[in-house]
Every structure is written in structure tokens, then in C-alpha cells.
């Protein structure tokens, strides 16, 4: 029972890490290696707003999400736009930006274990005899709501539909007057705000530490590779596979093997099915 509950919670957390990365890659074919850094950045923005500026918690959260979205868009508009299409440069540049943000935060004094965000709601509920705190339950609820929201956004709104068109056939989208740079900025902003939102939900469960930026990035990449790069449905499914695998290893082997599971999943996927779970269509196209 506890495996099911904690497996679900862990899976939702992984899905939250990965959705922003998958969104940006799916639309602009841009591997955003600064994803984890944006995650940590939003945590420290919220912490600073709460503790230094003394703003109300909800406003701090909204501020952190907005700031991160703007930082993400600015990164695209001023840095990445010059190197679009050069894949290796995109990876190097986004990773360099990640290092600059994370090590900049560390240099700015944000280190150690003292930075925490309070949970939204205290207390815990008992499900099937296992006590689960409300914050974790809220995470699962918001995670599910977010997937529903993203589905509605990409199927019903003008911008969302344009983003999907761009993701499937950039040139055809250009012919219809959809501007690829505008869409990439929107995607980066949206992906960054998803990173921030997941940070707001998950950081209250632990400390805000600079190192988690690297972990989040690795987990997000693992989930996206297993699910098929750029596929949102694949990312959610892969989050559940890796999430449960991690909890099972933690229970039967020891919790220090958790990170190995994610890395092993990347290696196994690349050996046996390089396009990931939901990559069949692309595979077919490549064969044709």
C-alpha cells in the first residue's frame, strides 16, 4: 500500500519536473538544460520575497512563477535566438546558463540547508493506514489539474493550437503566419513557469539547495528520454514507470540507489528503444 501511495507521489513529482522540459523540446526542438536551474531559481525568488521583502506567501509564489517565466523568455530572446538550429551549441549554451544561475546563487550566499519554504497546509491524512501529509496530496491534485489544463490549452486555445502546429511541422506553421521565434519565446516562458510551479509544490517538502538543480535536470531528461523526447503523454507515462521503479528500489534495495534507477533507465532506453515509448511514429518516419 505504501508503495502505491509513495510511488504515485514520486511519479507525479517526476512528471512535474519533466513537463516543462518536454514542452519546450516538443515545440522548439530546444533542449533546455537550464530547466533545473530555473527550478532552483524560482525557489530562491519565492524564499526572498517571503523572508526578505515580507510579502504574503501566495503572492510570493505568483511572483516567483512570473519572474521565472520572464527569465526563461529573456534567455531565449537574447541568447538562444542567435544559435537556433545548432544543436550542440544549444546544449552548451543552456548548460552554461544553468551553471551561471546555480553557481551565481551559491556565490550570492544561497547555500547550506537553511532555506525552506513552508508547506501550504500543515497536517496529514491517513490513507489505507498510511499517513500522508496534505502537501503531498496537494501535489498530486495540482499535478493532475496541470495535465488537464495543458491538454485544454493545447487543444482549445489559439496559441496552444499554434504551438502544436509548430511542434509538428515548423515550415507548414510558418506558411500560416505563425512566427517560430514568437512561439519559441512563448514555449520557453511556459516551460519555465512549469519549472517554477513544480518547484513551488515540491520545495516545501525539503530544503532549497543549489545541488537539486542538477538532480532535477537529470530526472527531467531521464523521464523525457524514456517517454520519447518531445512527447507529453510519453513524459507522464515514463514519470510513472521511473517513479515506481525508484520507490521499489528504495524499499527493496536502499534509497541511495534511487538516482541510479533514473540513469539506468536512460541507458536501457537508448540501447533498446532509442526513440522512447511514444517515439514509434518518428521511428516510422525515419525508416520511410
Amino acid at each position: 500500500m505504501d508503495i502505491i501511495i509513495y510511488g504515485t507521489i514520486n511519479s507525479v513529482a517526476l512528471a512535474l519536473y519533466a513537463l516543462g522540459f518536454a514542452l519546450v523540446y516538443g515545440i522548439s526542438r530546444l533542449p533546455n538544460f537550464a530547466h533545473g536551474a530555473l527550478y532552483v531559481l524560482s525557489g530562491f525568488v519565492a524564499w526572498s520575497a517571503l523572508n526578505i521583502l515580507g510579502i504574503n506567501y501566495l503572492l510570493s509564489i505568483l511572483l516567483a512563477i512570473a519572474v521565472t517565466a520572464i527569465v526563461g523568455s529573456v534567455i531565449y530572446q537574447f541568447f538562444l535566438i542567435r544559435i537556433r538550429g545548432m544543436e550542440i551549441s544549444e546544449i552548451i549554451a543552456t548548460y552554461a546558463i544553468a551553471l551561471a544561475i546555480l553557481e551565481g546563487l551559491r556565490w550570492g550566499g544561497f547555500k547550506g540547508m537553511t532555506y525552506t519554504l513552508p508547506p501550504f497546509i500543515e497536517g496529514s491524512a491517513a490513507i489505507g493506514g498510511i499517513s500522508v501529509d496534505y502537501q503531498r496530496l496537494l501535489t498530486v491534485g495540482v499535478g493532475a489539474a496541470l495535465v488537464a489544463f495543458l491538454w485544454l490549452f493545447t487543444h482549445k486555445t489559439r496559441i496552444g493550437l499554434a504551438l502544436r502546429g509548430m511542434a509538428q511541422d515548423e515550415r507548414a506553421a510558418l506558411m500560416l503566419g505563425i512566427d517560430s521565434d514568437v512561439m519559441a519565446v512563448v514555449a520557453m516562458g511556459l516551460g519555465s513557469s512549469l519549472a517554477a510551479l513544480s518547484a513551488m509544490l515540491l520545495l516545501p517538502l525539503g530544503n532549497i539547495v543549489v545541488e537539486s538543480g542538477y538532480n532535477v535536470l537529470i530526472l527531467a531528461i531521464a523521464v523525457c528520454i524514456v517517454g520519447g523526447l518531445g512527447s507529453w503523454a510519453g513524459a507522464v507515462l515514463a514519470a510513472f514507470i521511473i517513479g515506481f521503479a525508484q520507490i521499489l528500489t528504495a524499499v527493496y534495495l536502499g534509497s541511495h540507489y534511487q538516482m541510479v534507477v533514473a540513469l539506468l533507465a536512460i541507458i536501457l532506453t537508448l540501447i533498446f528503444k532509442p526513440s522512447g515509448i511514444f517515439g514509434q511514429q518518428k521511428e516510422l518516419e525515419e525508416r520511410v
Partner: protein, 248 residues
């Protein structure tokens, strides 16, 4: 309405378009005929601005060096340097070769993506019009684009381009690989679209026969040069053109 003069396109040192000048008047259907690799698609990409994007991508990836010169005037406005999104906003919309349907979206979603530039009212009105011109699409609304037949995809591609509110529609080889019956239906619909929506149309094709009944004027491309032009009657009376492009 649209006038291109002295268009030259080089891929590295290969000349793809050599000093091509074509024009299309208000409410006209203009044909551009030529064999494979005559430069038809290159011309369409140059007119719609997609060539600028291709050039940028090649430049970024360190691929082919593409050179583009000449002038394109649209309603007394020079648009040679405008991006494709700007040209689409002005009303120049390309319906590409091989249709390029969004395969993982339904027919209705494809049309809605096409309506990105339209206002909500325009999109609604055009949507109804598309289903009126192509009634076959009505039943397929929720089918995925990738599961349509070639003819259905072509109808969808034209409908999607119409959703972008074009003033001049560029149709690149719309009849490629379709049955004669479907070809005739599409050409009939094209003329109807011109008459009812007051849209000018430039249409390229390898084989001119199905297209010839609906055009006002035509150009013939050979090896990247516009070698001949004339009204429908003039071309019909030219024995070389008759044998090469009409098969009679």
C-alpha cells in the same frame, strides 16, 4: 497585385531561379508550369518568404549557402525582405507541395491552426465556408490528419490556407498524385474560391491539362528560367507547349 521581377535564387553555385519575373493581377488565376526541378517550388518559397527561413536555417547549420536577389512587390509595397509571418499577415499564404498536413491533429484542429491570424468571427465564417466548398471534410472533422487520403489531405491543406485569410493564395502542385476525378473537383473548387472569396491564386503544376480551363494567364518555367508566358489561348496555340505540357 503581386509582381516579382528579376528573381534569382542560388543554392551554393547552382542556379535554381534565373531572372524570373512573374505577376498576378487582382482576382486572377495564374498558372506556373514546368517539369520536375524547373524551379516551381523554389519560386513559391521565394514568393511566400519561406526561402528566408530556409536560408537562415542553412546558415545556422553551416549548410548550403543560399543567395536570393530580385524584387517582389505586393500592392505597391516591397516585401522582398519581409519574413514569412509578415507576408502571411499581408495576405500571401502558401499551400505547400505534399500538403504538409499536421498529422497528429484532427481535421478540425488543422483548420483552427490555420486560423491563427484570423479573428474569431473570421475563423468561424471561413470554417463554415471551407465545409461548404469541401463537403467531404464535414464527415472527417475529428479524424487525424495523418489518416486522410491524398485528396482529402489536399482539400484540408487548401482549407487550412483559406483559414489564414489570404488575399493571394499560392498553390504548389495541388494535384500531385491525385485521381483525374479528384483533380477536376479540386480545380472546380479553386475557381469557385476565386469567384466567391475574391482571392487571387497562383498555381504550379507539372502537367497543365487539368489546370488550363481555370487559368487566366500562365508562365512556363524551364531549368529555372521563365521561358514563355501568355494567356490561355496563346499557350494553347503554341505547338511546343501543347506537346510538352498538355499532352495533345
Amino acid at each position: 497585385m503581386l509582381e516579382a521581377t528579376g528573381l534569382m535564387v542560388f543554392y551554393e553555385n547552382m542556379l535554381a531561379l534565373n531572372n524570373v519575373s512573374i505577376r498576378c493581377g487582382e482576382n486572377q488565376i495564374v498558372g506556373v508550369f514546368g517539369a520536375n526541378s524547373a524551379g516551381k517550388s523554389t519560386l513559391m518559397y521565394a514568393l511566400s518568404g519561406i526561402m528566408l527561413d530556409i536560408r537562415k536555417k542553412e546558415e545556422m547549420a553551416g549548410g548550403e549557402r543560399i543567395t536570393l536577389t530580385g524584387s517582389i512587390r505586393y500592392r505597391d509595397q516591397e516585401i522582398m525582405a519581409s519574413k514569412s509571418s509578415r507576408r502571411a499577415r499581408l495576405g500571401i499564404v502558401l499551400c505547400p507541395e505534399r500538403r504538409r498536413i499536421f498529422k497528429e491533429c484532427s481535421v478540425l484542429e488543422n483548420l483552427k491552426i490555420g486560423g491563427y491570424l484570423a479573428t474569431a468571427a473570421q475563423a468561424q465564417e471561413t470554417l463554415e465556408y471551407v465545409f461548404k466548398v469541401f463537403p467531404a471534410l464535414t464527415k472527417l472533422k475529428s479524424r487525424l490528419g495523418g489518416f486522410l487520403s491524398g485528396g482529402e489531405q489536399q482539400m484540408l491543406a487548401i482549407g487550412r490556407a483559406l483559414m489564414a485569410q489570404p488575399k493571394i493564395l499560392l498553390l504548389d502542385e495541388p494535384l500531385l498524385g491525385l485521381s483525374p476525378l479528384m483533380q477536376a473537383m479540386l480545380m472546380h473548387a479553386t475557381r469557385e474560391i476565386r469567384d466567391e472569396r475574391k482571392i487571387s491564386i497562383i498555381i504550379t503544376e507539372q502537367y497543365a491539362r487539368p489546370v488550363i480551363p481555370i487559368i487566366n494567364y500562365a508562365f512556363i518555367l524551364e531549368n529555372g528560367s521563365a521561358v514563355l508566358e501568355g494567356t490561355r489561348e496563346e499557350l494553347m496555340n503554341n505547338p511546343d507547349v501543347r506537346s510538352a505540357y498538355f499532352g495533345i
